[in-house]
Symmetry: C2
Subunit: 219 residues, 2 copies
DNA sequence: ATATAATATGACCAGACAGTCATATGACTA
DNA sequence: TAGTCATATGACTGTCTGGTCATATTATAT
């Protein structure tokens, strides 16, 4: 957690530091992100950073938490526990994809945290995030089975795993790819979002859900 | 590419260097893998490494290529272009999963290369691998559509994307998870493989294919 | 104006990194 | 034995890293 000093900072300065740090962690995995680089870009002294945060990990976890909270809030708006399974998944997938396109920086920070390989220091933190998602999915699936919306000859944990793979960053990446834009380029210039209207997102999401519902096989 | 000197090395020494380097690149992403660490563990001088390879990237690309070739060879054994779509996917998925469990080191090296975020240097190389897989999937899908095995109201590119997400490292990870083992632990002690028989893998693969075929929805 | 506390600073440190190079060792040839 | 070529070596360089700390600046209160 940041020190009280950090919260006493004039808002302009505090925001600037956060923005720069977010950009750094969105464009580099934890171990490659550079504190030295951040402080230079934010126009503050190295020592000052250590008046605000204990160390690199403290800064990172704070920022990851901010990003994750923002995404969760965004998704919760879209989630309605009264929805049937496929409607719920459709809305979650649409919301997640829109979030990644509207807030690519935050999206990347969260997405980076989902691949725990190679960051031993953060492995526990990262696992926790994955486990929470998995549990959420698993409960949705079990409920869908009880309500008779889903086939019951499946292992919920396995299905949750498949959904986790499917519903991640993948769809946003696919949409950018159809425009010939890499996520890297998009991060640097998100103006291209104009072409990716919510309707466009919705159309692709609908197709994915149709597949999730009925499979690939010809009738 | 390695220098002639490297290939002139006594086999024992050459193998030892490769083994150590593979382990390093399997357990660390490119930027975190340490040449200094490799040479110490392999018991050779730093300078010697530079008699064998131009630089770190040269060593890495060589090793990634070895791992990828090995996996491709393994998968090709299992692939039969006469198979119908779902049989082909089933066999590919089973083979890929078995490969990751039988050769976790090679599997990790390849899997690490599939996430190009944060390794700007290697971005082009990594993209090429992804594009080749995607093209392969896309062709399979188009063929399946033509043969009437698959629904034809889907965008092949989108389906290829979904398959790419689905058929990656995910299933091997899931299987390890059901045993309460992380990939990290498994890499250090692959002896646990005994519990993960090919039949076990086949059972889970069959379930995934059933879902891929007919979806999640209750009939 | 003075004293006290909060904040800002950047030179500095130790460690790790990829990569270099002059020198040493060995092996093979004449 | 002398000479030539391939190979091996590890001390060293330059650069970057996260992190520290004595000192300087600023704001607050008396």
């Amino acid at each position: 957690m940041p020190t009280p000093t950090f919260f006493n900072l004039p808002e302009e300065k505090r925001k600037r530091i956060l923005e720069v740090a977010m950009d750094e962690f969105a464009t580099h995995p934890y171990s490659k992100a550079s504190l030295s680089n951040i402080v230079v870009r934010a126009g503050i002294a190295k020592g000052s950073m250590y008046q605000y945060f204990d160390n690199k990990q403290d800064l990172y976890t704070y920022i990851l938490d901010l990003a994750a909270q923002e995404k969760i809030t965004y998704m919760k708006q879209e989630f309605d526990r009264e929805d049937d399974f496929f409607t719920a998944v459709e809305r979650l997938l649409a919301a997640g994809t829109r979030f990644s396109l509207e807030h690519p920086q935050l999206g990347r920070i969260v997405a980076n945290s989902l691949d725990s390989t190679g960051e031993e220091l953060l492995h526990d933190l990262y696992s926790k995030g994955r486990e929470m998602s998995m549990e959420f999915f698993e409960n949705m699936i079990k409920l869908g089975m009880e309500k008779g919306e889903l086939r019951q000859d499946m292992d919920p944990r396995l299905v949750a795993n498949l959904m986790y793979s499917l519903l991640g960053q993948g769809l946003a990446d696919y949409l950018l790819e159809t425009l010939g834009v890499t996520m890297r380029e998009y991060l640097a210039n998100p103006g291209i979002w104009k072409e990716l209207t919510p309707e466009h997102v919705e159309r692709v999401v609908t197709e994915v859900i149709k597949i999730l519902r009925s499979g690939l096989q010809a009738q």
